[in-house]
Symmetry: C2
Subunit: 544 residues, 2 copies
């Protein structure tokens, strides 16, 4: 035992649980009168936000909700969901924000798997939730969120015992019995992955990870007290990449948004002087291809973090022309959202757009708040050479990796085998230390024994003047095993273009064997987060 | 046992020690070729910094240094000391950066109390270290730091077995056996307080706190990869307020500096495009009162964090005119340096300088990375009312409070009594939630039963046109118990001014009973960190 291990133990003064809950008490103390939340015709300050969160916590506690219980929320990016990010864990319970595009059976599965005791549900989703409640087979406290701050909010049917504001009114705005977690390892939230097969898995986050990733995100995205954050990214998606906590940590302003609609977004950018927003490349695409009468100029530069898919160079350049600055983040539900970022390098300033975009499309490097990352052979766990060519699986370790999957020890053990979190994403390590994801394992097309990256074909397709969106999947083939099959959506008003035109364009821009053999013109099926549903396309391709 | 406590335990993938050591591996991966360190005619990149740190760690390990050992460094802000912030803990040992203004007996006391196995010592301090070694009564590995990158570096006498560069050469730049701490609670550094009485106390920091406070400092100070940090604050002072780690965490550039001299600082501001620096108000004063031929313009705004004493309004305004933006931080050795900051409020923009400066002189609010703070009665532990008047002791709790005092369980218990860290600083809580320190307990002057804050008198004195610096202490008095005694330094070229002039000025600007009864014109005694040594002045006042 060395001298530093003697009489230097932990006590209440020097060891406290790391939790984002203290960010709210901090913001309330520092910025009580500063604008915390804007939503439609409502806006309120950090004192009021904190009071509402305490009301929620105390109302939940009064209903017997506490440590280890689950509270589910079915809502778009409204204040109630933001408040639930504090009020629910302040009661000791775990927040489960539901993906509101899911169908009734899946939601019913989740509520029962999570053993949810309470469901807050926005009236827009009353139709599906009504079916969920019928299927649930048990009672649950239902509270309706009636959004009165936005005109023409859909739905008015009340399913619950009372409404959110009435529920808050049963709580105590000065509720002082809310507690920090007794252990920073306690669960703070539960997010179900939108698994493409089988039942969704429940990813559990802890207070420590939420605290650390919020700090990491604030740093990477350059948030400060002057920032204004527009909620284009769903809060149910990895807890909004931890931004409900990060934005509050710096005392910035949350601008809520029910719907990702350019006709709503552009006016907010200028009216609210938005400085930061996040969204999948599809959201960026929507802004780019918005009708001219919808686009409105704004004076500031808006920082946009994008992820879920690499932003094509055309998207980056179009966004820059409109006054946005794009940062590429990468992560998964299992890593609290962003775990890597494409850190900007000074010498990129001088590069031509194409070259610069190629760098910016890389998933990059792990956050300074993550411990380590590697691209490795999942069998041997040996890192691949940093040659930009050898494919391996991206693996991460650190304090912003989930606790594990709820009630699924096998899946957790599989994800954590060898002491690393296995992302399931395949990529290369470039000589400059940047990771580039080439594909999900299942997105690699193996044609005549050659591996073809569907992402590589998509990047070429996005350069075609008439293509707005593209996705490539494997099509089973007697001769080749698989061949690349492209699904594309043309831009509004695009010139007529044939399948052969597009195949020729690809052959002119990449190795011939990689060019798609089939091209389908479609409206691409997507998840609510803007991810193209490749499993749907794979099914279609198989049926062609 | 609830569902969240089942099968969701810690493993190597999701739980890693929080440590600033990963910031260096991160910077090396992300910014291998980016400028990491500038020092005189030398500059090198993050790859090289990481290589040098690994060499240092491996050279130490080869000498038998490891977990629980202490490595002391006696140096100004040179690269060797920056490297020691990584290389020493990478070996498992604890870094003890010595205050280079201390005398030989005190240093000898520290080296023996810390049981240091190694001493790195800059040749500038060879004279005092020679005496230290003679007094030490035991052998210790001594390594000389020969600074060849600055012209005319004082001292050339070699005291050690070999020189720092030769020692690095014995190490392995690719040393892969360095370890993260096995526990984030392990000690990373040891900083002795410059106690005014008795032997100095050894404040022990842990990896977890260093990690968290570095992130907090990066956020509060707005550091990012484009930042250039000038080392005006001694690294031996609370590990440079954790900036050796914070600056690296964001991949910014460290500009080293042997000496706080305006003739060196101004050229560096413009040449290196410095964006951030820290220093006590005395450092700011030196810049303000530098001769005109020393002052050089610079194009950028330089963020300056100041602490150790509240910046007087005259200092704030003069700094702003020169192109600096001043932020007021407050902390103690026991809190890894800054623990509170005077968070800027938007409505201050509109205020007149005097009023704005009065706000900016407050110590403010705890960092979002600290858990909580209060101003409380140390007997009852009850918070004082937030009335801006009732005096209490500032107390803090959180993860950026020290492990405790080395080999001094009693002092640790005393500092942590009641589950809060007792700062020993007396202040008020303003209605806006901001703390304002009124005095150290011992700096309150009790005159005729009235408490008089020496800081309040000093603030008035600083407004006097001819006064450059001022300090007020209690002078024992038969009638009043104590009376305020002011020690002042006039500005260069100030008009003649009498004791009565200054007393009159004070009476015109504050309650008469608070005005000093005695004024002495002196060169103020200071510690190396620019803190006025009030204990020296108290002794002088007692002898008057």
């Amino acid at each position: 035992m060395n001298i530093y291990d003697q009489d230097l133990g932990k006590n209440a003064a020097n060891y406290q649980p790391q939790t984002p809950l203290t960010f709210l008490s901090h913001a309330e103390r520092v910025y009580p009168d500063k604008l915390a939340v804007v939503h439609g015709d409502a806006c309120y300050c950090y004192r009021e936000l904190a009071r509402r969160c305490r009301r929620l916590a105390s109302a939940l506690v009064a209903r017997g909700v506490g440590r280890g219980d689950t509270v589910s929320v079915m809502a778009p990016n409204v204040p109630a969901l933001l408040e639930a990010h504090y009020g629910v864990p302040m009661s000791g319970a775990v927040l489960n924000a539901l993906n509101y595009r899911l169908d009734a059976p899946t939601i019913a599965f989740i509520l029962n798997h999570a053993q949810s005791k309470v469901l807050l549900t926005d009236t827009e989703f009353a139709p599906v939730i009504k079916r969920v409640l019928a299927q649930l087979g048990r009672g649950i406290l239902v509270i309706d969120i009636n959004d009165v701050h936005i005109d023409d909010t859909p739905g008015a049917e009340q399913l619950g015992e009372l409404d959110y504001e009435a529920f808050l009114a049963t709580g105590d705005s000065e509720f002082s019995d809310w507690q920090l977690p007794d252990d920073e390892w306690n669960a703070i939230s539960l997010n179900y992955t939108s698994g493409t097969t089988g039942n969704p898995k429940g990813v559990v986050y802890h207070h420590r990870g939420a605290f650390v990733n919020a700090l990491g995100n604030a740093l990477v995205f350059g948030l400060n007290a002057k920032s204004v954050y527009l909620w284009t990214l769903p809060m149910f998606h990895c807890n909004g990449w931890t931004y409900p906590w990060a934005v509050t940590a710096v005392g910035a302003t949350h601008v809520c948004l029910r719907q990702v609609d350019p006709a709503l977004i552009f006016p907010l950018l200028s009216q609210q002087k938005v400085t930061h927003m996040c969204g999948a490349p599809i959201v960026l695409n929507m802004l780019i291809h918005a009708p001219d009468n919808v686009k409105q100029p704004f004076a500031q530069t808006v920082e946009v973090a994008t992820g879920g898919a690499a932003p094509p160079s055309t998207v980056i350049s179009a966004m820059e022309r409109m006054g946005f600055k794009v940062t590429h983040l990468y992560g998964l539900t299992e890593t609290y959202g962003p775990a890597t970022y494409c850190a900007w390098q000074a010498h990129w300033e001088q590069l031509a757009l194409d070259e610069r975009s190629a760098y910016m499309a890389r998933q990059g490097v792990h956050y300074a708040t993550m411990t380590d990352s590697m691209v490795a052979d999942p069998k041997t766990m040996e890192p691949v050479p940093a040659d930009g060519e050898t494919i391996g699986e991206l693996m991460l370790k650190g304090n912003t990796v989930m606790k594990g999957y709820l009630k699924n020890a096998n899946a957790s053990a599989e994800a954590f085998r060898g002491g690393w979190f296995h992302s399931g994403d395949l990529g290369v390590m470039h000589p400059n230390g940047y990771v580039e994801i080439k594909d999900r394992s299942k997105d690699i097309i193996i044609s005549g024994g050659e591996n073809i990256s569907s992402l590589e074909i998509e990047e070429v397709l996005y350069k075609h003047d008439d293509i707005m969106e593209a996705a490539v999947v494997a099509k089973p083939d007697q001769t080749w095993g698989e061949t690349p099959c492209a699904f594309v959506t043309l831009k509004p008003g695009a010139a007529p273009v044939s399948e052969q035109d597009i195949i020729d364009f690809c052959r002119a821009n990449m190795a011939h064997f990689k060019a798609p053999k089939t091209v389908m013109f479609v409206d691409l099926p997507k998840t609510q987060t803007g991810k193209i549903q490749k499993f749907v396309l794979r099914d279609r391709a198989a049926e062609l």
